[in-house]
Amino acid sequence: MSGLGELRNHGISEAADPRHEMANAWKIARKSNAQLPLVIVIALALVLVLLGKAQSGLFDQARIKVTDWLAPGLEVARAPARGFDRWLGSVTEIFSVYEENLRLKEENARLRQWRNVAIVMQNRVGRYQSLLHAVPDPKLNTVLARVIGRSSRPFVRTLILDAGTRNHTGPGEAVVDSRGMIGRIYLSGRRTSWVILLTDPNSRIPVTVATSAGDGGAVQAIMSGDNSPQPTLDLVSRTARLHAGDQVVTSGDGGLLPHGLPIGTVVAGSSGGWRVALLADAASTQDVEILKYSEPPEKLPPQAELPAEAAGLKPLAPPLQTRTEPPPVPETAPADALASRQQTPRPQPPDRGTE
C-alpha cells in the first residue's frame, strides 16, 4: 500500500502509467537539487531541539493557546469519551465480576476494622494536640476542576483541566483527587491547565516515607516518574531501609508543595530498587482539586540578631561604656563643615540590648 502498490490500488494507473508518473516525480526531485534544503532543514531541526531545551516558553505558549481554543470542544467530547471508556471497562471486567465481588467483600471487612482503629487514633491525636497547644495545619484553598483531556505520549503524560488563570490557578500547584496526589500544574492558560502526572518522566518531587519498622522514623527521598505506572524512589540516605507497604507522602521540602499529601505505598521494583504504588488513578479520575498552596514567607529575625559579617558589612563596634556626644558642628562654610565631619568619628547606633 505504499508507492506503486498504492497508486495501483487507488486507480491512478487508469489516468496514466504509474511507473512513468513516478519516474517523472523523481526527475523533478533530482532536478531541483533536493539534497541541499534537506541538509539545511536538518540543521534547523537540530537548532530547534537545542532552542527548545534552552527556552521552551514559546512552545508552551503555543500549546496552551491551542488548548484554550480547543476547550469548548473538549468539554463536549468528554461525555461520549467517558461513556466509551466505561463501556470498554465493563466489557473487560464482566468476566471477573464474581472474583472481584469476593475480593471487595473481604477488603471491606478488613477496612471496617481499620476504620475503628483510625477513629481511636484520631481522637488520641486530637487530645495530644490540645494538651500541647499544637498549631493546627493551615487549611488549603482548593479549586475544583474537571479532566477534559488526557495525553499519553512516550515522552509526556498529562491531563488537561478546565480551570486556568481565570480561576486563579497557576503553575506548580498540586492536583489531587479523593485518593491522593495526581501531579502538578505546569502550564496555565486562561481557561485550561496542563497537569504533569507523577508518572511523567519529567516529574520529580521530594517525598517522605514513613517507615513501619524500627523506630518508625521518616526517610526522605525523591520520587521520579519514568512513564511506568509506578514511579521510582531515590533515597537521600544510603543507610535507610524501606519495607513494602510503607506510606509515601509529600515532604514539603522546597516550599512548592504542602507537607503530608498522600501519594502511595512502597512496593519492591521488579528490577531491584523501590517503587511507589500510587493511590490515585490518573487514568480514571474525572474530578480533581487544585491546591492553592503558598508557603508563608519566612520572617527575618530582628536586625540585632543578624550576623553583620554574613551580609558583607563591617562588624558592629562593641557597646561603649561611656557614651560621648559628638561635638556640635559649627556653622561654617560647607567645605569647612565637610572637613570637620571627616575628622569626627561617626557615632555608633545604640545597642538595643543595653537599652
Binding site: 516525480a25 534537506l38 536538518i42
Partner: protein, 178 residues
Amino acid sequence: MALERGAGQGTATRMVAALVPVLCGLVCAFVANIPVSLTGGEVPPPLLALVPVYFWCLVRPDLMTPAATFAIGVMEDVLSGGPPGVRTLSFVLTYALVARQRDSFASLSGLAAVLGFASAAAFCCAVAWATVAVLNWRLPPVSPNVGELAMTVLFYVPTALLVGWLHHRLVGPLRSDI
C-alpha cells in the same frame, strides 16, 4: 479570454493541490493530538502525521518537501506537549531516510509495503528516543515508544487509504501538468 480564465483557474487549482500534502500532514498531527483518549490514556496515540509524510515523499516528493516535513514536525511538537523539536528532528531524518531509499520503499506492495512503513516509523521512534536520551542524559523507557510504533503501524493502512484517495481526487489528476 476564456483560455486565460481557464489557465488562471488551473494555476489556482494546482496551487491548492500542491498544498494538499502539507495540509493533510497538519490535519493528521492535529487529529492525533486531540487530547481525548478512549482508553483512559493507557494506549499512546499513533503518529498519524508520519503517514502523509511517508506517502507523498514516495509518490510526490516535489510536494512533500523537507520544509513541509519540518512544518508538520513543528505542529506535532507543539500539539503533543513533548520536548520541543524532538518530533521535528525525527520526522526530517525519517524523510531523509525515505528519500534516500526511495527506490526500495516504492517497489514494495501489500504486506511488504506495511513492513516498509513500519521500518520507517521504527526509525522515527528510535530517533526521537535517542534525542530525548541525549537531552535528558538518561535512557527513557522503551515500552511507550514500542506502543506508539505499534499504534502507528496499526493505523497506517486506513490512513494510507484515505491519503491515497485524497491524492487520487485532488493531486493525482494534476500530475501530468507538472
